[in-house]
């Protein structure tokens, strides 16, 4: 057991991936999870460790656009992929519609599950832009919250879905100078009705046709 623990140190491999629009190249150990890589190596601590067994959803991130429990994926499996974490979808001045809706509906309490909730919801809305109540409940069932009783979270997702439907989805991307021109699905075009209504817009998108 001891030998194995120390043997790991010599077996690291190098991965290249894109995280929140930044190219990253790092040595990782074969048993390191994507969650541990994001938190310990990249200091992206928005994804949380709640159970390390894929049951709570607090570690949810997007891998090539799909919501994934990052505690169940090895870092080596993320080689060559595009990862988006909560840190990549919005900031105080440019909240994602889901972030804005979570605030408006008081869908946040202790906040520990919140990043995972929002990433799960982004994954849902990418697949199903107009989910009914049952579809939202089902999609969120793997993301546990002990504080809110879920009602305000479900309401926030429905509202954000409505906002996001009026904007054509473009490819995933990242805000900031290092990021590509695209924005995460559902981010609004400047000058749209929603933007005029005070819903803040992420990034400076070149809107897809």
């Amino acid at each position: 057991m001891v030998e194995r623990a120390y043997a790991r140190r010599t077996m690291s491999t190098t991965i290249s991936l894109r995280v929140n629009g930044q190219d990253e190249r790092h040595d990782v150990e074969p048993n390191q999870t994507l969650l541990a890589f994001l938190r310990d190596t990249l200091d992206l601590t928005g994804a949380k460790e709640g159970c390390n067994e894929g049951e709570c959803g607090a570690c949810m991130v997007l891998v090539d656009g799909r919501a994934v429990n990052s505690c169940l994926m090895l870092a080596v499996e993320a080689d060559g992929r595009e990862i988006i974490t909560i840190e990549g979808i919005g900031d105080a001045e440019h909240l994602h519609p889901l972030q804005a809706a979570f605030l408006k509906h008081t869908a946040v309490q202790c906040g520990f599950c919140t990043p995972g909730m929002i990433m799960t919801a982004i994954g849902l809305l990418a697949e199903n832009p107009d989910p009914d109540e049952a579809a939202v409940r089902e999609a969120m069932a793997g993301s546990l919250c002990r504080c809110t009783g879920y009602r305000q979270i479900l309401d926030a997702i429905h509202e954000a879905a409505g906002v996001m439907r009026v904007v054509p989805a473009v490819e995933f991307g990242m805000r900031g100078p290092a990021g590509p021109s695209g924005v995460a699905p559902g981010l609004m075009a400047p000058g749209s009705a929603e933007a005029a209504a005070g819903v803040k817009v992420l990034g400076l998108p070149e809107m897809a046709p």
Binding site: A5, G46, E53, E55, G90, L95, C110, A141, R146
Partner: protein, 791 residues
């Protein structure tokens, strides 16, 4: 009074943006140089003598920097009853009891070294249940009970497994019972359950070369952690610093101290290094604290007029291996033993019993959901037994202004109105109307979409709770202005979701008539810098910290007005705060706060005043101890919050599966401070109540004493799919005399009545009564089959 600018408004959370952007830093998110990782070696036995702990081989392993066991730290811990040591010394009392710990350069190295620790145990017979625990020949779990340090209002019984016993005696129960026309005698059970905060417990500590201890921890009070650590390790409060970063849920499970002593013990043996103790989800289930189990026997004597004349309540609490914090749950359940009802003749006993299970502690509701499970079903049984509608029966027997509690307290007009809450939830779900709610033994049959036979039913339950805390539990705040007149408020209450920071900002902005964006509440307290606060428990923060802020705001105004009065050459009494300025309404003149908060400088250069800042505090006054024999007391607690919930269920007759379709909740909160936040507390409490009511139970394997479902796969908590279709929430506002702008506590109360209301609704639906929480489909189906068999 005109409508308030901020208090009562749906203000956004002041800490919302940091939480939705992932910026909020929790303890496990903090980075430490050369962090050591801890592994705790825990007892595999439910009850055993510890004969020897040998750690020499483990200590020599590469990467290991410290080992610690009870031999090094035979110190007692515990908030009320000091019956626990940092590591087991001579005996282990549950599977998971810490025996030793290792700190190493990596998790793998710590784990590898742990395998080399040799511990010799001599197994003893385990005691899993309270009835076995109180038997005269029961093995003693704490043979040294008489030697433990203990606060005077907790009464352990040396020579037994009883860690506390509170007696309530009012009127003459036996004589009254003898005259009653009908007597109802029932027993109810509640299993141990887990808090399941999504953030597991984690603590980080360093003992630096200068002799200072620094602790960062996920806890419900930095000050109580510091105080208890100092007592445990004989340290000066001056040498221990505790900070609490963002906390990912607590629900009582992070009250008092938990992993902190282990982190400090290891840090003391790895001087100058940071040591982190972080439990995984399985350990969170069996090795951190849980909610106590309850076996409750209730006897009610009732007259033809529907009044309960005699009421006996016998509560036996399964406290687990240690009673440190849970002994106060036993006490609180004792002095609240009659729930929301007025009983003239009472015999109440609340008895804590050690068992060889995980350790019981505070859990949202502090014993109240458990006793209401029993009491509110009993009231339903009595009402139906005498042919009275349960709503009418509750209205006839409930507490209210002028009524007397079980401890002899006469309630005044400001106490809150459970009768109005009962009426509200009755109206919301139409408990008397509709075919499903009649008093009858036959069932209303329906066809569900799947074509199977289904029963519909409705039921309700009341709730009451007082803050269970030492009489001198206090909160304090520091309020100071920055140069640009931003008001900074230092609080040491923990905002772990309930919204303390937001309501604190609302109170301050209201009192000083400031824009919300000018107020910053500095949470994440640090004992070196922050003002004292006892703990964030007992639904006490909005009330206690809110009061401190309103008082502090008056002091800030006083300081501002003294200077402004000199500047404007007017009387202090004519000045007001208005929208970021001090104004003098008679003349219309004003001075922006920015020119006053650091002192005022006149055109000729001379300055007066100085930086404006205030400290203030709140401690409830006039609380009196309970009589040790009868628990009678004119004012045993600071306040009561009353409420009621009603639920509507659909039961599948073939499978016993059921859904909670609608819930109505109403509480007399004194004053709603923030509608969005209080709805969050109410929805959250209802759904957490559905969890314990419908699915949660920490199951023990009796052959080994291990927890059989220590994972989120096997221990289910409610998910988004369990949310009722409709949750109708409303509030009554009977202002609390000593509450900030009339507010009283609400955080815990929202999960108290839910399980009992479900049980009552299931009885209403299909005539079966489930006495053992949780109400699983298996139990409902078995009860339906048994009922069928009886004909």
């Amino acid at each position: 009074m005109s409508e308030n600018r901020w208090v009562g408004q749906a203000v956004d959370r002041v800490d919302g943006v940091e939480k939705v952007t992932g910026s909020a830093r929790y303890t496990a998110d903090l980075k430490f140089p050369r962090l050591l990782h801890a592994h705790v070696i825990r007892s595999p036995h439910p009850h055993a003598r510890v004969l020897a702990v040998r750690m020499e081989r483990a200590a020599r392993m590469p990467g290991v920097r410290a080992v610690a066991s009870g031999r090094d730290f035979p110190f007692h811990t515990g908030i009320y009853l000091k019956d626990q040591t940092v590591f087991a010394t001579d005996r282990v009392r549950y599977v998971g009891d810490p025996v030793a710990a290792i700190a190493a350069e990596s998790e793998e190295a710590a784990l590898a070294a742990a395998a080399l620790v040799e511990i010799d145990y001599d197994p003893l017979p385990p005691v899993y249940d309270v009835l076995a625990g109180i038997a005269p020949d029961a093995p003693l779990i704490h043979p040294d009970l008489g030697s433990y340090e203990c606060v005077p209002w907790i009464t352990p019984k040396p020579g037994t497994n009883i860690c506390n016993h509170l007696k309530v005696r009012k009127g003459d129960y036996a004589a009254a019972l003898a005259t009653c026309r009908r007597v109802f005698d029932n027993t109810f059970e509640v299993p141990q359950v887990q808090h399941v905060p999504i953030e597991p417990h984690v603590s980080v500590a360093c003992f630096d070369l200068a002799g200072k201890v620094i602790v960062h921890t996920s806890a419900q009070s930095p000050f109580t952690v510091r105080h208890l650590l100092c007592a445990c390790f004989s340290l000066s409060h001056g040498d221990v610093q505790v900070t609490v970063p963002a906390v990912g849920g607590g629900f009582g499970g992070k009250a008092g101290i938990n992993l902190e002593p282990i982190a400090v013990a290891l840090a003391m043996k790895a001087r100058g290094r940071w040591v982190r103790v972080m439990v995984d989800r399985a350990e969170e289930f069996y090795a951190t604290v849980v909610r106590q189990a309850l076996t409750a026997r209730l006897v009610s004597g009732v007259d033809d007029d529907g009044r309960v004349r005699a009421q006996k309540m016998h509560y036996l609490w399964g406290c687990g291996g240690y009673g440190g914090y849970g002994v106060n749950v036993v006490r609180a359940a004792g002095y609240t033993c009659g729930g929301a009802y007025e009983f003239p003749n009472v015999e109440g006993d609340s008895i804590g019993v050690y068992t060889n299970r995980p350790v019981g502690s505070a859990y949202r509701g502090f014993g109240m959901q458990e006793i209401h499970w029993a009491l509110e079903q009993q009231m339903d049984i009595v009402a139906r037994g005498i042919g009275m509608h349960p709503v009418d029966f509750r209205l006839l027997n409930c507490l209210g202004p002028g009524k007397t509690t079980v401890t002899g307290q006469v309630l005044d007009a400001h106490v809150g109105r459970v009768d109005l809450c009962i009426k509200r939830v009755d109206e919301a779900l139409d408990l008397r109307g509709g075919a499903a709610s009649h008093l009858r033994s036959d069932e209303v049959l329906d066809r569900r979409a799947n074509g199977r036979q289904a029963f519909h039913g409705k039921g309700m339950a009341c709730a009451v709770k007082a803050p269970a805390m030492p009489n001198d539990a206090a909160s304090s705040v520091v309020m100071k202005f920055a140069e640009d007149a931003t008001l900074e408020i230092l609080v040491s209450g923990i905002d772990y979701g309930q919204g303390l920071k937001t309501v604190a900002a609302q109170f301050a902005a209201e009192a000083l008539d400031l824009p919300m964006e000018s107020v910053r509440v500095r949470g994440n307290p640090d004992t070196n810098l922050s003002p004292y606060d006892w703990q964030t428990v007992a639904s006490r923060q909005t009330w206690a910290t809110g009061n401190a802020i309103l008082k502090g705001a008056e002091e800030l105004k006083r300081q501002l007005f003294v200077v402004a009065a000199q500047v404007l050459d007017v009387s202090v009494s004519e000045l007001e705060c208005h929208d970021g300025a001090v104004v003098h309404p008679p003349s219309g003149r004003s001075i922006p706060l920015m020119r006053l908060v650091m002192g005022y400088q006149f055109p000729d250069g001379h300055a007066i005043g100085g930086p404006v800042a205030a400290t203030s505090s709140f401690m409830p006054e006039g609380l009196l101890f309970l009589d040790p024999e009868t628990s009678q007391s004119a004012k045993p607690v600071a306040k009561w919050t009353f409420g009621a919930q009603a639920v509507e269920v659909t039961v599948d007759a073939e499978t016993g599966q059921y859904t909670v379709d609608r819930v109505a909740a109403c509480y007399d909160v004194g004053r709603v401070i923030n509608p969005g936040l209080i709805r969050g507390q109410t929805y959250g409490g209802i759904v957490q109540g559905l969890g314990t009511g419908m699915m949660e139970e920490l199951r023990i394997d009796r052959a080994t004493g291990r927890i059989a479902n220590a994972s989120l796969m096997d221990y289910k908590i409610p998910s988004s799919e369990d949310v009722p279709v409709e949750m109708l929430v409303s509030y009554v506002e009977t202002p609390q005399t000593d509450g900030p702008m009339g507010a009283r506590g609400i955080g815990e109360h929202t999960m108290i009545p839910t399980p009992a209301a479900i049980a009552n609704a299931i009885f209403d639906a299909c005539g079966v009564r489930i006495h053992e929480m949780p109400i699983t489909a298996e139990k409902v189906l078995a009860a339906l089959r048994a009922k069928e068999a009886r004909g």
